[in-house]
C-alpha cells in the first residue's frame, strides 16, 4: 500500500479564515482515516489582520513532527504568504488568487516570488467566492475546494465538516459554502496536475481504541476529565488559556467546579486548598504564572498536599514571547521555589502523551501526596494530532485518595514516618484525624519543629517517597527508540522536541547511521539509572532542546559523569529536523573516527 506523507500550509490574515480552513482540512483528513499532525501560528495581535499560518501534515502512520518543507502552500493573503514561499519544496505547489480585485505594483503578487522548482496554481478564488456565496468571505473555502479537487481527495469528509462548521449560521450560508467548495473542486479536478503530491489509502483503525484529532491542550482536558478532575482554578495566560476555556464548558457538565481566580497565586493557592480538602484539583499556566506559583508549590511540598499544575511554556524570560514556543521553564518547574522542594515533573512529548500525563498526574499527586507539574509548551499545547484514545478509561478515577489510619484518642500523625515515606492522610471533615498542615517544618503530628534531626528526617521523607513514582504503572517514564544495543549516536530528548528528534533519527538511520533516541518523560525525579545505561550504549550523546542554557542537559549532567553534546536553540518555533540531523551526522563521524582509532 502506498504510504501517504504530504504537508500543506495555509497562509493568510486572521480575517481570511486561514486557521478555519486549515481546521476544516485537517478534520476532513482525520475523518477520512489519515493521521494528522498540525500546528497553527497566530499573530500576537489581539484583533485585526495579523498573519496566520496553519500547517497540516497528513500521513498514513502517525508522524512525530511537522516537516520543514511543505508540499503545497495556499495563499489567502499574498503579502503574508510571500515570505513563506521558500518553505515549499521543489516541485511542490502554490495555490493563489489570480483575479484579485485591485491592481497592484510589481512584486506584490505571489506569482512573482515562486522559486523555479515550484508549481504555480493561480485560480479565480475571489471571483468564485463572489459567484457562489455573493461575497469574498469564502475565499478560503474556494481555495480548499480547489486543492481537494486538484489532489483528488474525496469530497464527502469535506462536505460533512463544512456542513458542521456552518450549521449554526443557517442553511443558506452552509449551502453557499458547499457550492463554493464544489465549484472550486470541479476546477481543481479538471486542472492538469503537474505536482507529485500523492495520497495513498488511509490505514485501518486499530481495534480497542478511538482515533480522535485534538490539540495537546485538548488532550490535557480529556485526561483531566477522564481522571475525574473535581475542581479547576486558573488565570488566563497564553498558551495555557484554552485548557481553562475548554474545562469551563466541560467540567460543570460532569459536576465539576471551575473558578477563574484573580491571579496565578490565587489559582495555585485554591488548587492546594482543594487538594487539602480531598478532591482532585488542578490549575494551568505558563512560565510567568509558574514563577508566581512556586512559593505555594513549596507549601504543597512541605504540607504534602496533592495538586496538579499544567505549565505550557512559551518564550521567556519575563513576558518574553507569549506566542512563541520554547522549553525554558524546566529549571523553574524542577527547582523553582524556596528550599529543597522536590516535586514530580512530567513532560509529555506528544498529544497522546499529554492525555496520559494529565490523567496520571492526578494519580501520582494523590498517591505520593505531592504537587505534580505537567510541563507542556506552546507547540505541544496548540498542535493537532490524531491520537488513539483507549476506549476504556485508563486512569484510576477513584484511586485510594488517602489512607487515614485513624486511632481513637491519639493525636493524629499526619506526617508519620512510614516504610514508603508516604504518611496516612485524613481530610477535613474526617472524624479522629484532626490535624494542622503548616508550611513550617514540623514533626509527625504536623506541629512546628525546627530541630535539626527532624528537619533531616522530614527532608529525606519528602524526597524518598517520590522515587516510587519512577515505577508508577500505566505511564511511560522514559522510552528508547531506534537501534537497540550499542550505537554511535544517542539522542536524549524531552518534551515536544522529541518529535523532531525522532524524525531526525529516522533520517539518520536511513543514511546508515547507527543511532537511538531516548525520551525522558519524568524530569523529576529523574530516571538516573536508565539514562546512565543509555549513555553506556552510546558512543556520542546529543541533547537537543529549545532553550539557551541547556536546562535538561544540566539535569542530565548532574546524573551522569560522561561528556555529551548540547544542541540549544531558541528560535521561538520548533527545532529544525535538519539542524538535529546535521549534529547526528557530525557526531556519527566523530564516533566512527574514534572507533577506528
Amino acid at each position: 500500500m502506498k504510504e501517504t506523507d504530504i504537508q500543506l500550509m495555509f497562509c493568510g490574515s486572521a480575517g481570511d479564515g486561514t486557521i478555519a480552513v486549515g481546521d476544516i482540512f485537517k478534520r476532513a483528513m482525520a475523518k477520512a482515516g489519515y493521521k494528522v499532525i498540525a500546528f497553527d501560528i497566530y499573530p500576537p495581535e489581539i484583533r485585526g489582520f495579523g498573519k496566520c499560518i496553519s500547517r497540516v501534515r497528513v500521513t498514513s502512520r502517525q508522524a512525530y513532527s511537522l516537516k520543514q518543507e511543505s508540499d503545497l502552500l495556499v495563499s489567502l493573503n499574498d503579502s503574508y504568504a510571500i515570505p513563506h514561499v521558500p518553505e515549499v519544496r521543489d516541485f511542490g505547489s502554490v495555490i493563489y488568487d489570480n483575479a484579485p480585485i485591485t491592481s497592484m505594483a510589481e512584486g506584490e503578487h505571489i506569482s512573482g516570488h515562486l522559486l523555479p522548482g515550484q508549481l504555480p496554481y493561480g485560480l479565480r478564488i475571489r471571483e468564485i467566492s463572489d459567484q457562489t456565496t455573493g461575497g469574498s468571505k469564502s475565499k478560503n473555502i474556494v481555495a480548499l475546494g480547489y486543492l481537494a479537487g486538484l489532489l483528488g481527495i474525496k469530497q464527502e469528509p469535506f462536505h460533512q465538516i463544512i456542513g458542521d462548521k456552518f450549521r449554526h449560521k443557517g442553511s443558506a450560508i452552509s449551502e453557499s459554502n458547499l457550492l463554493a467548495f464544489d465549484t472550486a473542486y470541479a476546477e481543481g479536478a479538471s486542472t492538469f496536475r503537474l505536482d507529485f503530491i500523492e495520497l495513498g489509502a488511509p490505514e485501518r483503525q486499530e481495534i480497542g481504541s478511538k482515533v480522535q484529532m485534538m490539540t495537546g491542550n485538548a488532550a490535557v482536558v480529556r485526561g483531566c476529565l477522564d481522571a475525574g478532575l473535581d475542581c479547576f482554578f486558573g488565570y488566563p495566560i497564553t498558551p495555557a488559556t484554552s485548557i481553562m476555556e475548554r474545562l469551563a464548558t466541560e467540567l460543570p457538565r460532569r459536576g465539576g467546579r471551575l473558578l477563574q481566580t484573580e491571579d496565578e497565586i490565587s489559582a495555585i493557592a485554591a488548587t492546594i486548598g482543594a487538594g487539602y480538602a480531598g478532591v482532585r484539583a488542578a490549575t494551568a499556566t505558563s512560565g510567568p504564572g509558574l514563577a508566581l506559583m512556586v512559593e505555594m508549590l513549596g507549601l504543597g511540598v512541605i504540607g504534602e498536599v496533592p495538586a496538579v499544575i499544567f505549565c505550557s511554556q512559551r518564550g521567556g524570560p519575563s513576558t518574553g514571547m507569549p506566542t512563541k514556543t520554547e522549553q525554558s521553564d524546566l529549571h523553574l518547574a524542577v527547582y523553582g521555589g524556596a528550599g529543597d522542594a522536590q516535586r514530580i515533573v512530567l513532560a509529555p512529548t506528544n498529544v497522546e502523551g499529554a492525555y496520559r500525563c494529565a490523567g496520571k498526574a492526578f494519580e501520582m499527586a494523590e498517591k505520593y501526596q505531592t504537587p505534580v507539574i505537567v510541563l507542556l509548551d506552546l507547540y505541544l499545547s496548540n498542535r493537532y494530532e490524531t491520537v488513539l484514545l483507549p476506549r476504556q478509561n485508563p486512569f484510576e478515577a477513584d484511586s485510594v485518595k488517602h489512607r487515614s489510619n485513624v486511632e481513637r484518642g491519639v493525636p493524629y500523625k499526619r506526617f508519620a514516618f512510614t516504610d514508603d515515606s508516604v504518611s496516612p492522610r485524613t481530610i477535613p471533615g474526617e472524624e479522629g484525624g484532626i490535624h494542622v498542615i503548616t508550611g513550617l517544618e514540623h514533626n509527625e503530628l504536623g506541629r512546628p519543629n525546627d530541630q535539626s534531626d527532624m528537619h533531616t528526617r522530614m527532608s529525606e521523607k519528602r524526597h524518598k517517597k517520590l522515587l516510587a513514582a519512577l515505577d508508577h504503572p500505566g505511564i511511560t517514564i522514559h522510552k528508547r527508540f531506534g537501534d537497540q544495543g550499542r550505537v554511535d549516536v544517542g539522542i536524549l530528548g524531552w518534551g515536544s522536541t522529541v518529535g523532531e528528534i525522532l524524525e531526525a533519527m529516522l533520517m539518520a538511520q536511513a543514511e546508515g547511521i547507527s543511532c537511538s533516541v531516548m525520551k525522558v518523560v519524568m524530569l523529576s525525579p529523574l530516571p538516573n539509572e536508565p539514562i546512565r545505561s543509555f549513555f553506556d550504549d552510546c558512543a556520542e550523546v546529543l541533547i537537543p532542546e529549545l532553550n539557551y542554557e541547556g536546562q535538561f542537559a544540566n539535569l542530565v549532567a548532574s546524573a551522569v559523569s560522561k561528556p555529551f553534546t548540547r544542541l540549544n536553540r531558541v528560535p521561538g518555533v520548533p527545532m529544525q529536523v535538519a539542524d538535529i540531523l546535521e549534529q547526528i551526522r557530525r557526531l556519527a563521524g566523530r564516533a566512527k573516527s574514534s572507533n577506528a582509532a
Binding site: 473535581d230 475542581c231 482554578f233 464548558t249 466541560e250 460543570p252 457538565r253 459536576g255 465539576g256 467546579r257 471551575l258 473558578l259 481566580t261 484573580e262 491571579d263 497565586i265 490565587s266 489559582a267 493557592a269 485554591a270 488548587t271 492546594i272 486548598g273 482543594a274 487538594g275 487539602y276 480538602a277 480531598g278 478532591v279 484539583a281 512559593e295 505555594m296 507549601l299 504540607g303 477535613p428 471533615g429 474526617e430 472524624e431 479522629g432 484525624g433 484532626i434 490535624h435 494542622v436 498542615i437 503548616t438 508550611g439 513550617l440 506541629r447 512546628p448
Partner: protein
Amino acid sequence: MGNLRQPVYLEEKLKQVRESGRLDIRSKALPTWCPGCGYFSIVDGVAMAINKLQISQKDVTIVSGIGCASRFPFFLDTYGFHTLHGRTLPVATGIKVANDRLTVLAVGGDGDAFAIGGAHIPHAARRNVDITYLVFDNGIYGLTKGQTSPTSVLGFTTSTSPYKNQDQPLNPLLMMLSYGTSWVGQSYAGDPRHLSEMITQAMAHRGFSYLHILSPCVTFDKTSRTYINLKAQVRWLPDDHDSSDKMAAMKYAMDTDNPPIGLFYKESRPTLADNLDLVIESARGRGARATV
C-alpha cells in the same frame, strides 16, 4: 446588643468556657503569643462560637497566613492549614469550592490581609465565598518584631519608620464595604464578650463575613493601639443603625478617631457555592444539546 455593654474580662471568660466544658475546642498546644496579647481573646471567641453554633470540630477548618495570627489554627482542636503570607483567602476559597459542607475560617493580621494579601480580598468578597474572615488589626508587624503595617497610624515610629510613618493608613472597613462584602463587623480584643458574640454572628452568616478586630500589640506598640487608648476610642454603633444601609455603614466606617464596634452591614445573596451549582445546572441543561 445591650447586654454586651458590661465590661468583661479574659479570666472571667475562660472560667465561663471551662465551666461550660467547651475548653476541649482549644488544643493542647500553648499559644506562642506574648502575655497580654489581644489574640488570646480571639481564640476563645472562636471556640465559644463553634460551641454556640453546635458545629462539629472535625467540620471546621481554620486557614491562616503568616504573622502573629498565623499560629491561630494550632491553638484550636479543628482542622487547620497554616499557609503562606497573604494567601489565606485563596486557600480557604479552594477548600470551600472542594467541600462546601466545611465551616471555613480565615484568620490573619493587618499585614497579611491588607499588605501582601490585599489583592485577594475584593475577590473573596465579590464572590461571596461562604467563609468567615477574622482580621486581627494591631497596626504593626509583630512576628518580625515591630515594623509599620498598612494600618499603622501616621506618625507612628517603628524600626522601619524611625522618622515616623508617612503613609496614610488604609481604612479596612470602608474597603470591605465597597468590595461588596456581605457581612461586615468590627470588634475589639478588649471586649471578649462582644468579640465572641460578633464572631458567632459572623460565622452564622451564610456568605463572606468580615470581622475587623482591633487588637493591641502589647510588646511593640506602647503608644498607639494600646488597651487604654482603644478603650477610650471605641464607640458602640448606635442602636438605630440599620445594618442593611450600606451608605450609613460607610459613614460610620469613616470615623477612625472613634471606631464604632458592632455589625456595620449585612446582606443576603447567593454564595460562590450556590453560583457554581447554578453553573453545573445550566451546563447539564445545555450539555444535552451541545455537541462535543
